[in-house]
Symmetry: C2
Subunit: 563 residues, 2 copies
């Protein structure tokens, strides 16, 4: 297996270098274009996906006793009909424990080699296309988004975490010589051996919208450091998880390893098993991605395990001024539309001075800002192909209710800038689509905007001035968390104050991003989630994400007798 390590080592080395210098790099193919992949592979993947529907997916998991599966495609509103093993939890943990016995004793290079092979396998075109179809019809993303965001971008985050795990583990030497005198006694010469010991079994809870993006790094970080992984997928988005679990298990078997190093416990929404997994006596590590309420509960109620969370927050934009008014509005509108604002990096609260802002066109009123933002959104939604590509669908039909409820509230408070509606998907007539609901409210209407609204609901918030907006936005960071924050200003002094205010609130900041998808967080470059505010306690990826997943034990011998 060190053969695997040697084969993939250049990728690992490049990832380590990219993490160190934090430039743009990807190890995988982001584009599904037939210019790159030809037509056969995509067609075969589509056929493979279609053939999976309506059937049990065989995974050969330990402790199977029955089947579960309740996914509905947000594009067709039809059940996928795929079922997954329903497994006995104790049997799963027992199998993980058993599988760990050999895995933990492998060299760092051997374990990392197998992990690199898993990523490489998942990054092969056939796997990327199949993964994209499965993600489309569960998470509800557009195909291109599912291909890149849940393919290459997620694999890159996995490789990044693996690189950090490798770095942390190789910081510990395998052995050492130690010589000293104690008083007048003869010199002592000891040989020391250091061994890395994994914590134990890790439970990785993936979310409905982007299960791979946090799943891959958590799995890589755990496996590389020797910990078996029990994955708990969201009942709405199980298929892509089951597929990557299957691939990982295949790679393990092909390399003579126990496949139960990676298992999956599927459940039903009305019969969840998550807490049972989290509190299982074998659970030593928890990686959670999902809602902030449950994330906080886990942080406070699982002292049995190391807990790493990424949840969500009130992502904000503070607009002070701009020298590219249309570009700014287009950039913000992109975030309001992308993945129907179901990304952890989607913005929700847009603070704009009540008296308007200075732009390259001169002064622009608050209402003009609202109108231009609306226009930018309308431009996207009005182009059926672009809307379908950018917005995809809603992962949860419950979001319609949130949109309706907020629309109703806005009739008494604030003003509707843009009503939400469905856009007609060019390929799927019944697709569960929703266009952005945009409200204009006052800074005092905190009960409306002062919490996360999951889905395409946003607020343009009239504040006294930009400083006031900054104060309100950063207060929300402290209270509700934030994963991304944006400021637009052509005043260097304001940018500096904004940076300081957001950093002091424990949030990262993007300034004047225009001409790119502002939701984008780049593996190897962007530290994703600060861990300093309620939107999560862990970062993808830093040394803290990996360094405590293993521990160090040592043996001391007299050097003369050390074997």
């Amino acid at each position: 297996m060190s053969e695997l390590f040697l084969r993939h080592k250049p990728f690992l080395e490049k990832a380590l270098d990219a993490c160190e210098k934090r430039y743009a790099w990807t190890a995988y193919k982001e584009s599904p274009s037939s210019k790159i992949h030809g037509k056969e592979i995509p067609a075969a993947a589509k056929k493979a996906f279609d053939e999976m529907l309506g059937k049990p997916l065989h995974m050969d998991l330990p402790g199977e006793h029955g089947r579960v599966g309740e996914e509905i495609s947000p594009f067709t509103e039809e059940p996928l009909g795929v079922t997954y093993p329903r497994v006995d939890i104790d049997a799963t943990f027992a199998a993980a424990r058993e599988a760990q016995q050999r895995w933990r004793r492998l060299s760092v290079e051997d374990r990392v080699g197998v992990c690199l092979e898993m990523l490489d396998r998942l990054g092969q075109p056939a796997a990327l296309f199949l993964n994209a179809h499965a993600t489309v019809h569960t998470a509800g993303q557009s195909f291109i988004m599912a291909f890149a965001g849940c393919g290459a971008n997620a694999l890159d985050r996995g490789l990044e975490a693996l690189a950090y795990a490798y770095k942390a583990m190789t910081d510990v030497p395998g052995e050492a010589d130690w010589e000293r005198r104690f008083g007048a006694a003869p010199e002592i010469h000891l040989r020391k051996r250091f061994r890395l010991v994994p914590r134990g079994t890790a439970v990785v809870v993936t979310c409905a919208t982007f299960p791979q993006w946090n799943g891959y790094p958590a799995i890589m970080a755990n496996l590389a450091t020797g910990n078996p992984v029990v994955i708990k997928p969201h009942p709405k988005t199980t298929l892509p998880v089951a597929l990557f679990v299957r691939t990982m298990r295949e790679v393990l078997v092909e390399n003579g390893m126990d496949p139960n190093l990676v298992t999956m416990v599927a459940d039903k929404r009305d019969d969840p098993v998550t807490i049972e997994l989290l509190h299982h006596p074998d659970t030593a590590i928890i990686d959670f991605t999902g809602g902030p309420k449950f994330g906080r509960w886990i942080e406070e109620n699982c002292p049995n395990a190391l807990v790493y969370t990424e949840t969500a927050g009130c992502n904000s934009v503070v607009i002070e001024s701009t020298d590219n008014f249309q570009g700014m509005c287009d950039a913000v509108a992109h975030s309001l539309c992308q993945a129907s604002a179901q990304m952890c990096t989607s913005v929700q609260n847009i603070f704009v001075p009540r008296d308007g802002i200075d732009t390259e066109r001169g002064h622009v009123s608050f209402d003009e800002v609202c109108d231009t933002l609306k226009g930018s959104v309308d431009n996207i939604i009005g182009n059926a192909g672009l809307a379908a590509f950018l917005c995809g669908t809603l992962v949860d039909e419950g979001i319609y209710k949130s949109i309706d409820a907020m629309t109703a509230k806005a009739n008494s408070r604030g003003r509707i800038i843009r009503e939400s509606g469905r856009y007609a998907h060019p390929d799927y007539a019944g697709a569960r689509t929703a266009t952005p609901l945009m409200l204009a409210v006052e800074a005092s209407d905190k009960e409306l905007y002062g919490q996360e609204h999951f889905g395409p609901i946003s607020f343009v918030i009239a504040c006294d001035d930009a400083e006031h907006g900054l104060a309100r936005a950063t207060e929300d960071v402290r209270e509700h968390g934030a994963i991304t924050s944006h400021v637009y200003s052509s005043d260097d002094g304001f940018l500096e104050r904004a940076e300081d205010a957001y950093h002091s609130a424990g949030a990262s900041l993007s300034c004047n991003l225009i001409g790119m998808p502002i939701n984008f967080a780049a593996a190897y470059s962007d530290f994703h989630v600060t861990g300093l505010n309620p939107a999560g306690n862990a970062c993808l990826s830093d040394l803290a994400f990996v360094a405590n997943r293993f521990r160090i034990v040592q043996t001391r011998f007299p050097a003369s007798t050390a074997p």
Copy 2:
């Protein structure tokens, strides 16, 4: 201040190298010999110490309202009469928060430079001598032990933690350039800035026996990463803590920093404030050294903070065979005597096969092992100077009761190998001394030996064979924890099985240590505490000890406008 960094940089670099290769090194003077220090400095330190007694110690802490101080010298049984500020807790945290504002914004080099200067100052001969006197008359150690173990050895652990903190922080670059294309749009070129942000205020709880040994590393790890430190000393051992706090504050002031980055909250045994400190809303980090029961409580009940603990366990010796019988007995006896077995590395449970062991002298019976161990202890105790140097005194008069209670129990179960008594201290007639109580028990007498007995109480445990002893010893590791474990065997196969058994139980192991103080744990070389068993969750020092004490925030700008 980077001047401080430059001045001390060679030490930091040497420490980084020593941590990487884990050889023996010390940055400070371990010996109090007048050959090194002359006579003036020691005499002046003694005078300074004597002049402190019976007086208030002025520390200029924020929020002072009254005085506390109840220390009694274990050597003279007289109160020291030194009083410390009693401080308002909210005022202390407010001052720490205020002090952090500037400190957190300093460069890594600036902060580390100040920390290096603190260690250097505490490592000056005058400070080492004063620290030793203060430690002698609180923790009850012999002078030479207090000088080395609570001086150089503790400072080395501090420098080691500082080196790890530096390594973890410098793993994050200050800035980066990032360029990529999204689809057909023009290339995006971003500049990124990364800033390290401390967690918040750290509460460091030091223990009665060795407050510097865990205190220095915790303080260095916190300060270097930008977190102010509130120290809660044990009411029995406050003076050495107060002295190093005073020195650290002086260094801060001399370098233009706010002294309230390091504060101290002294309390009384019958009016403790620890829990109030741990649960203070500002508390973001907790470093605890002390008893396992309270340590466990903290681990389970302080989700408000990152928690690092070092407590204690049932340290064991498994004797299978030896080719140096007397040397082995002398080595174990040294541990039973050193610091009256009040060290976290003192051994307590000595497993010996009921049928005896093979040695270079031939087969030796269980009773002969007991007798020879007793003889080795008697040899130490019989030499008044050596007893005083090695055993010191009891930090807590309550240990006499434990000894009496165990002696009484042994009259019905097991057999007394060696009764505890007082040895006559050559310099202090009334010194609170106790010689080792040694009991011979059966492996089935777990109620006697299967828990930590703090102080000079040990058990020679008759087991069916060495494998049985190994099984029992590692079971105790899992249940009660262990900080050191020893095995003596001339059988390579047994050593291998022992290594595997202890490592699997989450404990480090020393094999056949003879001719050295086996309690010794070396900074830069020995990973102290594995974090895998109940004796603590943190290690001195590894990346996990430091990497989560700070977080990373970032700012992204278009490169063209980045300031």
